[in-house]
């Protein structure tokens, strides 16, 4: 599974980890989906999204290995931009990293950028709620199931990930989110160092449906009346990875060149002539 380009001194340990992950997947109550199997379902008959997924931020090879990639929302899919929305969607570089590139100082992606994040995510589905654990920066969502098109709570505190509620439309899982901060739309940055943002009136509707036992379509409807004249849809996909597990990610752990100012490592300090 893993390519060792150097001496395999660590291979034994890694092999144990991989074997444990495979064993865990094989002994769990949720069988590892395969192409030939039916869509996984709960005891109640609903599609079961439980598992570790390679979200839209991967190539989706169908194999154990996969390649992360940065997906951004597609300009061609976007609805016409409102006159007031231009400055927010195509935000010019300010010189303030908190605006130009907040994740560069380990601030959050926010929901719309988190959805296509090129890191794994683990979904845990129960009859009453869906929990999504994002590897990147350890974000999570706890999403209650309930009647379709019901109202959100009236006292939502705006957050980076917003307030999400879910329901079923036949076999389609619908996740409806409001209560988002004005924040980054995605990871796009033009050459001048600007960024793309959405407003705090952004309303996100995610619609997920298994296309086979291992793959799901992932349609994201973005409705931001400040920026766009009407809602529009980005059509993505995600893929189950039965042998994966989500990993730890600490943004501040070894961030050596933050904002372009590097900190020498110990070996550099001791060897520079």
């Amino acid at each position: 599974m893993y390519t060792h380009l150097g001496a395999p001194s660590w291979a034994g340990q890694l092999g144990v980890v991989i074997a444990a992950a495979v064993l865990s997947a094989c002994t769990s109550t949720q069988p590892a989906p395969q192409e030939s199997q039916a869509v996984p379902r709960t005891a109640g008959g609903k599609p079961d999204f439980t598992g570790v997924w390679a979200g839209p931020g991967f190539m989706h090879t169908g194999q154990d290995v996969d390649t992360a990639q940065v997906r951004r929302y597609t300009e061609a899919n976007m609805a016409p931009i409102t006159p007031d929305g231009q400055a927010l969607l195509n935000r010019a570089r300010t010189g303030n990293v908190r605006i130009d590139d907040p994740t560069a100082i380990c601030l959050p992606n926010g929901l719309t950028r988190q959805i296509p994040s090129p890191y794994a995510q683990q979904w845990i589905q129960t009859p009453t709620q869906l929990v999504i654990l994002y590897e990147y920066m350890h974000f999570f969502r706890v999403i209650p199931f309930g009647p379709p098109n019901r109202a959100h709570a009236p006292d939502i505190e705006p957050t980076y990930m917003g307030d999400s509620i879910a329901w079923w439309d036949d076999d389609t899982l619908v996740i409806d989110t409001i209560g988002l901060n004005e924040w980054l739309l995605d990871a796009y940055h033009p050459d001048d160092g600007g960024s793309r943002w959405h407003s705090d009136r952004m309303h996100v509707v995610e619609r997920l449906r298994f296309t086979d036992a291992r793959n799901a379509s992932y349609d994201v409807t973005l409705d931001d009346p400040v920026v766009f004249e009407k809602p529009w849809v980005e059509r993505w996909a995600m893929q189950l990875k039965p042998t994966w597990k989500i990993l730890e990610f600490i943004c501040d752990d070894n961030d050596r060149c933050r904002t372009g100012n590097c900190t020498d490592a110990d070996v550099q300090a001791s060897s520079t002539p």
């Binding site: 390649t67 090129p118 990610f249 961030d255 904002t259």
Partner: protein
């Protein structure tokens, strides 16, 4: 100091890849300043948010400097089948990347080529990669 192969050139020229800058790339590295060095791997830090590896490089006068290169997050590399021992201290490598904005001996490590010709990207998928 361990033995070093002769250093390759440090290029500060104009070749530029298409831009899809990452949070760390655009603010941390200068895509107008590509760097290419050859030397001996001194240390590998397999840590988030990006791996770092350090290469001892000898210049034309025989002086050695240690360059630091930022690569992809460990999870990205593992999921591409690249294990943490893919590059080890003592390996001879050529590294192509882009220099840090502060002008220090640090850069993004967009491509690593081993002495036997094997080549592997270590950059994040969102980073600018060398041509």
């Amino acid at each position: 100091m361990r033995g070093l192969i002769p250093a390759a050139a440090l290029l500060v020229a104009g070749a530029v890849s298409p831009a899809l800058a990452h949070h760390s790339f655009s603010t941390e590295y200068d895509r107008s300043k590509p760097v290419s060095v050859t030397g001996v791997v001194r240390k590998v830090e397999w840590r988030n948010p990006h791996i770092w590896f350090y290469v001892d490089v000898k210049d034309a006068r025989g002086q050695v400097a240690t360059w630091g290169f930022s690569g992809a997050p460990p999870a990205f590399l593992m999921r591409q089948g690249i294990a943490r021992d893919a590059m080890k201290p003592g390996d001879v490598v050529k590294v192509d990347g882009f220099r840090a904005r502060d002008g220090s001996n640090n850069a993004s490590g967009g491509r690593v080529t081993f002495a036997d010709g094997r080549s592997v990207f270590t950059a994040s998928p969102e980073d600018v990669r060398p041509d």
